[in-house]
């Protein structure tokens, strides 16, 4: 399992990377592995506001669906529409396949660094 050190992580298994004042958000390698083959991503809309700790979409595998929980509050400025046609990118490259970018940030969940997140995942099994 891969835990890049330049990212922050939420306990609901999303990663956050700051790009200037924009937060780039995806799901962790641990999350994609637990989900199995992702078959579809329900994306939010550009311009929607998101709140930390609340659902902004979901990812479907064949037999499960999991909410995507936003680690930050703000306004969505871009969504990765390439995932609509190629949801498998979330499995192949969890840290390359970002899901959304959020600006006007005004709050975040408790975020973990790579080491703390790895320990957290180890506990979850």
């Amino acid at each position: 399992m891969n835990y890049p050190v330049d990212l922050k992580y939420s306990k609901s298994h999303e990663w956050v990377k700051m790009d200037g004042d924009v937060a780039v958000i995806g799901i962790s390698d641990f999350a994609q592995n637990a989900l199995g083959d992702v078959v579809f991503v329900n994306l939010p809309q550009d311009g929607d506001s998101v709140s930390a700790g609340e659902s902004f979409g979901d990812v479907e595998s064949v037999k499960t669906v999991s909410d995507l929980i936003s680690p930050v509050s703000g306004t969505i400025c871009q969504v990765n529409e390439a995932l609509l046609d190629a949801p498998e990118k979330l499995n192949q490259d969890a840290y390359g396949a970002w899901i959304m970018k959020v600006k006007n940030l005004d709050g975040e969940e408790e975020l973990l660094d790579a080491a703390a997140y790895e320990a957290f995942c180890a506990q979850e099994g």
């Binding site: 579809f40 479907e60 595998s61 064949v62 037999k63 669906v65």
Partner: protein, 438 residues
């Protein structure tokens, strides 16, 4: 008494012994004794197959049989090819469950895939589900597909079938959506009223084509109005008419639904029928119900499975947009066999003849002094007449074995299909003429 338990009394006792029990009462030891029904059920004793056959047949005989049916209003007496009746009667199709186990269900899965394709062909839409309960529930589910947080009002034409309006109203009541009914003018949806009612909160508008009064709506123009307001356009179409009528796709519909009964299902006092339900690729993942998809198996052969299941209730539970977890598979099979037997030419022929005969009937009735058409617009195979002494006319028709038009506000709603002959139509007109001459 009748029974379908194969084990003999001796075998049953042997099985009880094997699980360490004396008699059946022991099986229910978890049930509080106070609750056990300590008496026989108050229903008659069981019967042999011969007796029960007689008893049920005597109930069927209490219904009046009409040899000619000139009534539609949501249930249409089209000709059903003989072969169509034999296919859903095949025991494997009849007794199988929902095809969860694809490896031993390829037959029923393929039949649904073929049905989906045929319905897409008929409607011009991209995607069909495996069917829902009937046309009215299809309309209810379609309305539920369209609403979101900002758009919470559903519009429906007053010229839709009353059962469709009432069912959509009930689905809206459930989900807390407001239903507003767009009024009718001259037997058609009033476009000016619709324009005014298409406010920002409107999620969708439902139009029936041909409408409940048989009138053909200007569906394309109405679709433009709906889209200009940013709402979704749902059309409910008669599938026989679709063989010759402009498709909902070409009219701009986002969702097309309808009552599939005319596709080979007998009248049967209202059911089983079939709701077909289609949409565009864009809205595919919001479509409720079962959907069959093509894939390959472990050896690379073409195979079919229940697909896109993550939309459904057994996975989403309270987040699912619908609780539906079945379809009308046997009715979809019937509809598929019907469309295959009729073929594109036969379907179009049934549609053209239904229309021609309805017009012939309308002309005949309107030649009787005092009878006229209530609406002047073009119609398919149903129309409303203004006719004095409608009750007497219906009585006289009934004594001749003819089911006449349905009394609707201020007139009779008549219907003809390819099944009625010119002679039957002439006779019907003659009977009405004689009643009115008295």
């Amino acid at each position: 008494m009748g029974s379908y338990v194969p084990s003999t009394p001796a075998e049953r006792q042997e099985m009880l012994n094997a699980i360490g029990m004396k008699d059946y009462r022991d099986l229910y030891h978890d049930v509080p004794q106070s609750m056990i029904l300590n008496r026989a059920l108050d229903i008659p004793s069981g019967m042999s197959e011969l007796e029960v056959g007689r008893a049920v047949a005597s109930l069927a005989e209490k219904n009046k049989r009409f040899s000619t049916i000139l009534r539609g209003a949501g249930a249409y007496d089209h000709y059903i090819p003989s072969i169509v009746k034999y296919i859903p009667a095949k025991e494997e199709f009849l007794t199988a469950y929902t095809p969860y186990q694809a490896e031993i269900s390829q037959g029923v899965l393929q039949s649904i895939f073929e049905y989906q394709t045929m319905i897409c062909e008929l409607t011009g839409m991209d995607v069909s589900n495996a069917s829902v309960y009937d046309g009215a529930t299809a309309a209810g589910e379609a309305a539920a597909m369209c609403k979101d947080r900002k758009r919470t009002v559903t519009l429906i034409s007053a010229a839709a079938h009353p059962d469709v309006i009432n069912t959509v109203r009930t689905y809206c009541y459930g989900s807390g959506t407001e239903l507003r009914v767009v009024p009718v003018k001259n037997g058609k949806t009033d476009p000016d009223a619709l324009r005014e009612m298409l406010v920002d909160e409107v999620a969708s508008f439902y139009l029936q084509q041909p409408n409940f009064f048989g009138q053909l709506e200007d569906a394309e123009a109405i679709g433009k109005l709906v889209h200009e307001a940013g709402a979704m356009y749902i059309m409910g179409c008669n599938p026989i008419a679709l063989a010759i009528m402009k498709t909902p796709r070409d009219c701009g519909a986002d969702i097309a639904v309808g009552e599939g009964q005319p596709l080979g299902m007998p009248l049967s006092y209202g059911g089983p029928y079939l709701g077909y339900m289609t949409t565009t690729t864009k809205h595919m993942r919001r479509l409720p119900g079962r959907i069959v998809g093509e894939t390959v198996d472990s050896k690379g052969q073409r195979a079919y499975v229940l697909s896109l299941q993550a939309r459904e209730q057994h996975i989403r539970r309270e987040k699912a947009s619908s609780n539906i977890c079945s379809n009308q598979a046997l009715c979809a099979l019937t509809a598929g066999a019907y469309m295959a037997a009729m073929g594109p030419r036969g379907m179009a022929e049934a549609a053209r003849q239904s229309m021609a005969k309805a017009h012939y009937l309308a002309d005949g009735l309107c030649r009787i002094p005092g009878v006229s058409l209530k609406h002047e617009g073009p119609f398919f195979n149903e129309f409303v007449t203004v006719l004095p002494c409608g009750d007497k006319a219906l009585e006289a028709l009934e004594s001749a074995g003819i089911l006449g038009g349905l009394p609707v506000e201020g007139g009779l709603l008549w219907c003809a299909t390819e099944k009625v002959s010119k002679a039957e139509l002439d006779r019907s007109v003659q009977i009405v003429k004689e009643v009115l001459a008295k």
